[in-house]
Amino acid sequence: MDNILNEIGIENYIFLAVILFSIGVCGVLYRRNAIIVFMSIEIMLNAVNLLFVAFSTYHQDTQGQIFVFFSMAVAAAEVAVGLAILVSIFKNMGTISIDKLKNLKG
């Protein structure tokens, strides 16, 4: 494992994670379908998980890999709550487009 990391270089892992994270951010900002926005948030979190594992190998330290378990569990709980909110929105409004959520203004 160590040799692979030496040959590729930690910088490239960081670039990959930053690119994936930015794709997720763009998805959250520009897509209008709530499910796709959820997917984009997952991409953001998973980009970070990837970088955690890379750093963990880089430092020869297992804490980073343990943290990934925490963040995966948390992401699952978060999405479960998000989907529940989405279901009740769909029941009330019959759509999951974020553009339709415009009742609150002032």
Partner: protein
Amino acid sequence: MSTLIAIIGLGILCLLLEIFDFRKAIIPISIIGLLAVLGLNISEFNSPEAYYNNMIIVSKFSTSFSALFIVLTIFLVALSHKFHENNQAHISDFIAIKLFLLAGAVAMVSFGNLAMFFLGIEVLSIALYVLASSDRKSIKSNEAGMKYFLMGSFASGIILFGICLIYGAMGTFDITEISELSYSAELPVWFPIGIILVFIGMLFKIAAVPFHFWAPDVYEGSPALTTALMSTLAKVVAIATLFKLLTAMNAEISAEFQTVIVIVSMASMTVGNIMALRQVNVKRMLAFSGVSHAGFMLMTLLITTNAAGTLLYYSSSYALAGIAAFSVILYVCYNKNNEDINNFHGLGKTNPLLAAILTGALLSMAGIPIFAGFFAKLFLFNQTIQAGYISLVIVAVINSIISIGYYFKLILAMYNKEPNEVRTATPFVIYAVAVIAIVLNIALGFFPSLVLDLLA
């Protein structure tokens, strides 16, 4: 440490009481349990210790803030009975979620490891997403929950990325080790980037400008009790955590970073106050008022002497005034579709006591003497001038004057307008919570050294 375990145990006990069909006992047992937890927490005040390989560090800072959170939760749990009167079947869910939220809050101020910080902030946020959308049939509440969820998980992603970069630079999650390593001369560029990302994520959570845009919508759409929770408990927790993070991890805050804090603080006060002037919905007005108070509380990051004590004093006075104000709002807007200002017309004639309490709470937020809010602002401005930020204090004073404008709009509506309805209901619990909160606020104003010197 035992505080945290006891709170989680109490939450589980709530769910068990539901199973064994003791629904009526849930609120009294939770309040008694929380009072016991408060005592347990205070007993830990003088014995700072680290638990579980520095995962949790109990210190004077963490115990005194935890005590404030527990007091706020007691008030919010007490108000739940009246608020969820028509939904008694699910009362255990609401109470248990509030208790788990409190556990997240306590974990957030007593973390010793970034993993614990992340878990705490997520427990708090996920509980808040549920509470914000807890009025399932209301489209407004759904929308508020969805907006809060999207913004909150976006911010969590940014915080997580920041933690990852800090880990990459330091090779550890332990904040004491990070603090020691941050004095070394050569650090990878990832470390400052990580700090900035965590800072941005936390600004989302405390709703400071320019990351405040979600706050008014979410505060307006959520059920009123959840709004009370968000504007008092959640805001105070987030700002205390940000304070602890920046003081614990950063060796010394650089000059550029101080400039950023000054600008964010000035912008939060000004934008919050000016936007609040033109609101007709009281919850929305208090949301913008909360944005401006976040700006005031950010000033404590710049203070050099007794910053933690000043922050504790300011946040206690703000949160107690908020609880008093929201308990009156809960009374006035019970069974109403909206919280517009015309619901408050003539409250001074139909219910003088509650009108007086709301007046006191608003005067405390505006910073008028005898209420704690005035002394909080006095000490804060005094310390900030001593730290050498005179322009920031000038902006803050001008903003305090602007804020009187919209607080008095509500006060005048209560006393000068004719009542448009008859109010006969006299719910005892709301009276009790409002009176105790405002009395505590005034007591803090008379004896400021009690709180200010706790963390000196």
